[in-house]
């Protein structure tokens, strides 16, 4: 029953999406604007149907309905309900259902908010997004059908992959990733819509999707950080980034999207880079699909093994169609996309954005080429190679260091042309903080040139961006006689986009400090301990108390109780564990991390004697790693500030007649 409801909902949703998408050009061609309401209705109907299918699948999981193939594949009566629900995205088919649902939600929301807009941009955008939805429905009907009948119905299933039910972050990382990935469908659809509607010369598609792009970017940033955290907390290797194809797949579109967020301001402000921005947005969307293709088709070897099948060919065909259609559209419109302005001076914010875009693009190609190189090498020379961390680190560290520097340069530079004296005042705080951090790093023992530079530039960016808040607030105090805190709040809320950006910059600095510190100053040691024996790493001592085992509903747990010592006093208990799942031959390591402001003490149980007489434990001191997660939060806070609707905008929205006016009043960085 559940199965039939769900699979028919998907079938109808596919038909509705196709009809809605087809109706748009016909309606516009015939001049029947009333028909357009039908294609908007198709967007809403699609959302309702996909929601129904998603709920049905969740219900199937929760009610252990093993007649549904997806439930039989990932469900198990022993799995706790929470992990049963989130196994919606624990395997391929469920992920595609979730993807379709997120896409349906975005589509319905963006059409609802723009339903009164005149012109053909929104209808074409709706049609584009319906076409994308149709592709995912086809996946759900064909190669990734989660609703196939299972006969005979098994009594129980194997349960989700143990690694995926071992940590709470599994509930967080995948949804964030999909919300980010899928979110870029909105600006992409509006870009395509603008091209189809011939409205590409004005910036409406950018203005209408500004917040949507920021939402997608914020989710993707959060997803990347959450993925790093998950990897760090679950996999027991003490690292958070390995340049695995799956990680790269999420990072590559993030790079183009970040470039876009900046370069789009040059277009809004100066009427330049129009063609470039269009390409960046189309590219970002294609890269999200490419990333999914790379990780889901099994084309590239990765530690993340996903189910393989014919789905790769579907994705490939979709990429080919999107690329071809987008390229023809962009090329066809390229003559309309000339620059209105030109660069006035080498020392201006425009130039900083231009250089920043160049670096982000080079970065994107570096990671993309490194990820695809094994495939190229096999095709060209017939050899199997793997491109590992050394390549990516060597290539990306200089780029990251340079980008940190630019993150300080950009905010310090005014639009058009910088005046010397003003510039000095804006740069000075950055120079001071940068020098201080650089000296601190040298005193701390950093000897690698890039590491020291990373501290210097991180400090520089921190100083410049933080000084912007101080400067702005001081000016308000002077002008309005406000309290400093009030001035700061009003400053930010009057220019949300600009100061949201600076907050995000500060978040990135925190992430960079965490990454640089853990890469430079990480120390680790492994030892076999008897009860009562201690191990000291980076001045922190742990003592092995005892080993224990216990039965849990879905697994067996072996753990070691380790005491964190301060002198002879016990100041904390850390319990690294190994979880044994019946479906997995090897135990799932479950490290425990003790976080402090200065870093993490990371304990992983490597081996144990069955009688508990000794254990082997790895202890890692990870300086400033918590700053990465906190920095990620700050980045998201920046995105939220940038997204939050300002009062002026809400006021102007009520009068829909002057649709072109509100963007002019918006805070501009």
């Amino acid at each position: 029953m559940t199965r039939l409801v769900a699979s028919n909902a998907i079938l109808v949703a596919a038909a509705v999406s196709a009809l809605g998408a087809l109706l748009t050009p016909i309606a516009i061609h015939k001049g029947r604007r009333d028909w357009l309401m039908l294609s908007y209705a198709a967007v809403y109907t699609n959302f309702v149907l996909v929601t129904l299918a998603t709920l049905a699948l969740v219900w199937g999981l929760v009610s252990h309905d093993f007649s549904i193939s997806y439930v039989a594949q990932v469900g198990s009566r022993a799995t706790p309900t929470f992990y049963t629900i989130i196994s919606l995205w624990g395997a391929l088919e469920g992920s595609i259902v979730f993807w379709a649902w997120v896409l349906g939600m975005y589509a319905a929301a963006v059409v609802w908010f723009n339903r009164h807009r005149e012109g053909n941009l929104v209808p074409y955008a709706a049609a584009t997004i319906l076409m994308v939805a149709l592709f995912f429905h086809i996946l759900l009907i064909g190669p990734a059908n989660p609703f196939q009948p299972v006969v005979p119905v098994p009594f129980d299933g194997p349960g989700p992959n143990p690694l995926l039910q071992n940590h709470i972050l599994m509930a967080v990382h995948p949804p964030l990733l999909y919300l980010g990935y899928v979110g870029f469908s909105v600006p992409f659809a509006f870009a395509v819509g603008a091209m189809l509607a011939g409205e590409v010369a004005n910036d409406d598609w950018i203005r209408l999707t500004r917040r949507w792009t920021l939402v997608a970017w914020g989710f993707l940033s959060a997803a990347i950080i959450a993925g790093m955290w998950w990897s760090y907390e679950v996999l027991g290797w003490g690292g958070y980034w390995a340049w695995d194809p799956v990680e790269n797949a999420s990072f590559i579109p993030w790079l183009t999207a970040t470039a876009y967020l900046h370069s789009v301001m040059v277009q809004e402000r100066r009427g330049m880079l129009k063609l470039w921005n269009l390409n960046l947005m189309v590219g970002t969307f294609v890269l999200t699909i490419l990333g999914t293709f790379l990780t889901r088709s099994g084309i590239i070897s990765s530690v993340h093994a996903f189910t393989q099948g014919t789905i790769g060919y579907f994705f490939l065909a979709f990429i080919a169609v999107v690329l071809l259609a987008a390229l023809i559209l962009v090329a066809g419109n390229s003559d309309k996309l000339g620059s209105e302005g030109r660069l006035d001076a080498p020392l201006s914010r425009e130039t900083a954005f231009l250089v920043q875009n160049l670096f982000f693009t080079v970065f994107m190609f570096t990671v993309l080429i490194g990820t695809l190189f094994p495939l190229v090498a096999e095709a060209v020379r017939g050899v199997k190679v793997s491109v590992g961390t050394p390549f990516f680190n060597r290539m990306s560290v200089p780029l990251m260091v340079a980008l940190l520097f630019l993150m300080g340069v950009g905010p310090a530079l005014p639009w058009k042309k910088a005046a010397g004296a003003e510039l000095k005042g804006r740069v000075l705080p950055g120079v001071v903080v940068g020098v201080l951090l650089g000296v601190a790093a040298l005193l701390g023992g950093a000897r690698n040139g890039y590491a020291v530079l990373a501290y210097v530039f991180a400090g520089f960016a921190l100083g410049v961006n933080a000084a912007e808040f101080v400067r702005g607030a001081n000016a308000r105090v002077k002008a309005h006689g406000e309290l400093w805190v009030t001035a700061l709040m009003r400053l930010v809320s009057a220019n949300r986009r600009r100061y949201g950006g600076y907050v995000a910059h500060i978040g990135v600095v925190l992430v960079a400090l965490g990454v640089a510190s853990s890469a430079t100053f990480k120390t680790e040691q492994e030892a076999t301990l008897k009860p009562g024996e201690t191990l000291t790493v980076a001045g922190r001592t742990v003592r092995f108390k005892n080993a224990w085992g216990r039965e849990e509903k879905q697994r067996q747990v072996i753990g070691a109780t380790m005491e964190l010592m301060s002198g002879s006093r016990v100041v904390g208990i850390i319990e690294p564990r190994m979880n044994y799942y019946p479906t997995q031959q090897q135990p799932v390591p479950t490290p425990e991390v003790r976080s402090m402001l200065s870093g993490d003490l990371y304990l992983n149980l490597m081996a144990f004697k069955q009688d508990g007489s000794n254990i082997t434990v790895k202890v890692i001191w990870e300086p400033l790693v918590p700053w990465i997660w906190f920095g990620g939060l700050v980045v998201c806070l920046g995105a939220i500030i940038g997204i939050w609707p300002s009062r002026e905008r809400q006021a102007s929205r009520s009068g829909s007649a002057n649709a072109a006016a509100p963007p002019m009043t918006e805070g501009r960085a």
Partner: protein, 220 residues
């Protein structure tokens, strides 16, 4: 419409799409072993499970690869904790019995395991017709570049690796490889008394099968 730009862009995209299409036909996890066609790494390992009937070797006896010259050797790496090894156990045990009296030596090599558990596993599985040796410290497994268990190496009569099978073997594979290696050994022996290395059909057989076993790695 700027067709020039459109065609340049499409021309750039086409090879990438082509590359992906080609890539889909490949298995990136299938890493060919460099061993086929080369001399098999030597070993001297002690028997811990004697085998049955006429295939028996006494426990504690040292099996040396050098002593097996002239015989086709089927070297099967296994472990009691390995699930896929259960799938192939009957096939191997049966095939070994079938080739009794022929110049073929089946040999199990215990990988990352202790002999007691290996013995327990053998009796649970209803016996193993051929002897198994222990490989303490997995030294021989490392020499053979073992990626996981089960892996089965087929060595020709001259002690060269002719073929490597990853994952559980089927009776058909065993029969095909052993028969062709025996035939090659015989024809080589009938042409010249000392077999020439070039007569071994290693070239045609230096192929790795895909990896159907459960070693695909972990998901994230």
């Amino acid at each position: 419409m700027n067709w020039k730009r459109a065609s340049i862009a499409a021309a750039t995209a086409a090879p990438v799409i082509g590359l992906f299409a080609w890539g889909l036909t490949r298995d990136p996890n299938n890493i060919p072993s460099p061993l086929p066609g080369r001399q098999a790494p030597a070993f001297a390992l002690a028997v811990f499970s004697p085998g049955q009937g006429r295939l028996t070797r006494p426990v504690g006896d040292t099996v040396r690869l050098a002593d097996l010259k002239g015989k086709v050797v089927v070297l099967n790496f296994w472990a009691s904790w390995c699930l896929a090894c259960r799938d192939e156990h009957a096939a191997l045990s049966q095939m070994a019995a079938t080739y009794e009296g022929k110049p073929v030596q089946f040999l199990g090599v215990l990988y990352n395991d202790v002999p007691d558990k290996g013995m327990a596993w053998i009796s649970e599985m209803g016996g193993q017709s051929y002897p198994s040796v222990d490989d303490p410290g997995a030294r021989v497994a490392i020499d053979y570049g073992l990626y996981g268990v089960p892996e089965t190496f087929f060595l020709d009569a001259n002690g060269r690796v002719a073929y490597k099978n990853t994952g559980p073997v089927t009776p058909g594979t065993v029969r095909l490889k052993v028969d062709s290696l025996m035939a090659a050994a015989q024809s080589a022996a009938s042409v010249t008394p000392s077999a020439t290395p070039s007569s071994a059909p290693s070239g045609a057989m230096a192929k790795d099968t895909s990896r159907p076993s459960a070693k695909a790695g972990s998901a994230k």
